[in-house]
Symmetry: C3
């Protein structure tokens, strides 16, 4: 969450990402995007969802456009998801996996960005381990380039947030009276932050963040959520339970959680544990899972689990976002 000095967090990131007419220019964060825009994106994404036994949804709406996937942090699934989303819209795709070690300071990121925009790259999909990088880039590109955040430090992962919202809406049909429990390493999770921000905007009934104290959100960070350190309290009557990935090396350093077994015992989501939640509770995980650590393996594969549905929605959401910024580009 600490912003590196050279990439100051923008206070008006929300404004930065909208055109004068309110359409989407960049997607940097869900924070500050209003409900109607989120609903529009989810509706758009729905058009790109198709069951696995039917043809893949496609269009040619990005024909003649160039999308660059600029990943300064390694990724297989998010990169693949953006890659397929862009190709299925007819775009040319440039995949650049850039070693951050060759990147010393902000200026050289900008020089890479200026190079890509001079090459007529229309959309840059950025993943970076430093806070503020996508907004910093968005502040510097010309009027014809859109920036999409594909994962920013611990701060934000807006397309993941959107796919979570879409998956919940598909299964539950509403947000107003839902209780959503997000469990695990909240502190270091860009997924938790983006999903929580989106849920708040869509008016979720109750949002609970459950974690060991050392992994709780920062104080006052998400005042709209209740912060808990007891899993049963957090799961009680919950409609949606989302387990977060925990980095194994963090576990040994948690007070009272010396090992994997203890972590699973205290914060792992299992069928048995889930009985305290609502009878039709759905289970989510952003992937990749540590089966048996943050989630019971059989539960992950059960009908209650929406995990592969999340992945499928990920492509659809990214297609919707790509198409949305392209449309806005054309009307500028």
């Amino acid at each position: 969450m600490q912003a590196i000095e050279v990439f100051p967090s923008s206070n008006d990131e929300a404004n930065l990402q909208l055109n004068a007419d309110g359409s989407l220019r960049h997607l940097l964060t869900l924070k500050g995007l209003d409900k109607s825009l989120l609903v529009e994106l989810l509706d758009d994404a729905e058009r790109f969802v198709s069951p696995v036994e039917r043809d893949t949804a496609r269009s040619q709406s990005l024909r003649g456009r160039t999308v660059a996937n600029l990943f300064f942090e390694p990724s297989t699934r998010t990169r693949a998801s953006f890659d397929l989303a862009a190709k299925r819209l007819g775009a040319d795709v440039l995949n650049l996996d850039v070693n951050t070690s060759s990147r010393k300071k902000g200026e050289s990121i900008l020089d890479m960005i200026y190079t890509l925009q001079a090459m007529h790259v229309d959309i840059m999909v950025i993943r970076d381990a430093s806070a503020g990088v996508p907004a910093y880039i968005a502040q510097h590109v010309n009027d014809y380039v859109s920036i999409l955040n594909a994962g920013e430090a611990d701060v934000s992962h807006p397309t993941q947030g959107l796919l979570d919202l879409l998956t919940i809406r598909q299964r539950k049909g509403r947000f107003e009276d839902l209780t959503v429990a997000i469990v695990g390493d909240i502190r270091h999770s860009r997924v938790a932050r983006s999903t929580a921000e989106g849920l708040q905007t869509l008016g979720v009934g109750e949002l609970r963040l459950i974690s060991p104290p050392a992994l709780a959100p920062y104080a006052d960070e998400m005042p709209f959520a209740s912060v808990l350190d007891n899993l049963d309290d957090g799961l009680r009557d919950a409609d949606v339970v989302m387990a977060l990935r925990i980095q194994r090396e963090r576990i040994g350093n948690l007070e009272g959680i010396p090992g994997i077994d203890e972590y699973f015992q205290n914060f792992g989501i299992s069928s048995e544990r889930l009985q305290i939640a609502a009878p039709d509770a759905m289970v989510m995980h952003p992937g990749p899972m540590n089966r048996g650590i943050e989630i019971e393996s059989t539960l992950a594969d059960s009908p209650a689990s929406a995990i592969t549905q999340q992945v499928a929605n990920g492509v659809a959401v990214r297609m919707a976002v790509l198409e949305c910024v392209c449309k806005a580009m054309e009307s500028r």
Copy 2:
């Protein structure tokens, strides 16, 4: 050849790879595929062969399909061959070179596979250093996904086998009365196994496997072949001579073969050595070659050599297999 516990070799791999109507669902191994199916694949591949001075064969039969090349073992030529085959059929291609070090156990392979199938990947091309991985994956994918084995440990490399069969058929026009000699490191060669299996099904006259004793096939592994350790005996009147790549580090550990010169002396294929074979003997090598070790450099470039023809056939065979599993998909 040792199967890792977590990836048990399937006894009915052959059945696993066929649909109920006998059409090809997955391509995991040539073992157990019947003659009519092999001949059909070779005939299909022939349509995609075109001389270098003519236009490249293409079609749009995979338009709207997604092919993922999932290579857990590094590869340049096989990956390039599948990549071009898929693109020339109009597919979208996702290239994933995955470091196996990030893969701890079977479950996480499956999670990657489930992720890809949720993204509407239709065909997964898998290369892996562990035995049983392609079949293990094939057992777990949904009804709408086909798995193609692009190299599996020492066990199997079925598209390489098919391209060898096609090349022999193009040059010799028949299999029945042919004598084929495969020379070199048989024990560790997935190429030798797949080619041998295909030759047996197509009714090759005689198959000889020639190697230093330490690199011979396992006992009773290929009862239809004769196993020899003397090159002249193996080459006598042979119509087809296939040299295998040997890993240099193996040479020093072979009894009686302390160095490269000795290896070439005893098991290298040269023009001079080839005089004992049939007058019109053809020479093959799966590549990449160690020139001067398993094959004489000038011989590799001579008219007797079919080595570049094998490469050209590789793309054609992969196009045929991709099209074949796609057609079967559509009629399911």
Copy 3:
């Protein structure tokens, strides 16, 4: 500049790259290409230049063709530029980043080339750290393959040369009475060599090469240019000033230049320093820049700078070259 024994520099490289009718077969070097051909390529490239606010220039003239980017030396921008150029002409593109450590000797490069041409690759874009590799490959491919040099040791980088020429022509409209100053590490710069060769052919008024003595060109290497070690002498009344990238580790080893500050002081291009040049002098850099070392950061972003224009022209020039060798292929 030293040619490795196995890749002897071709004395008739210039002839090697032309078809019998004088059309372009390979692009290996600008040396020896005549003025009319250079002008034709620049004119062709001009058709592919479009301002960033307008649609990207595209065509389908490489539809059905396969371009392989075979980079034995790492590259982000040149690879991206060729990748986009080929895709925007409708080609299938195969990207191969090949670790040179796996390449022991010339033969195995050729085997890789033979493999690619057997796969019906039409155009191979080669970058290599050894002198002579592109010409060596061009001497060995069949009649249906074109080789494009994308950076060869310290020797040559012809598409960079062409994009520099195009950028100068766009800004200055002529070459005859221009004074061009190239500043920095001339000795190790393939960019300087290619640009200088092109400028000479197009009849530049005066060409000055300015560097610390240790980084001067080899004696008699470019007799048409004046070699200077004083920046002010070099910049005086210059119309075009091109700063070259210097590798930081070289700086400490230069006599009289113990550090970055001294280098910038003596050979860095700044607005202040530029006052000695012509009033409308343009500034160039092949990128990636070391801002504050070879060029002042604010100058690089000023209207005098043509640096992003160079990048945009890079894609256009590569599209022109790809189309040019393809047309020549079809009429062979």
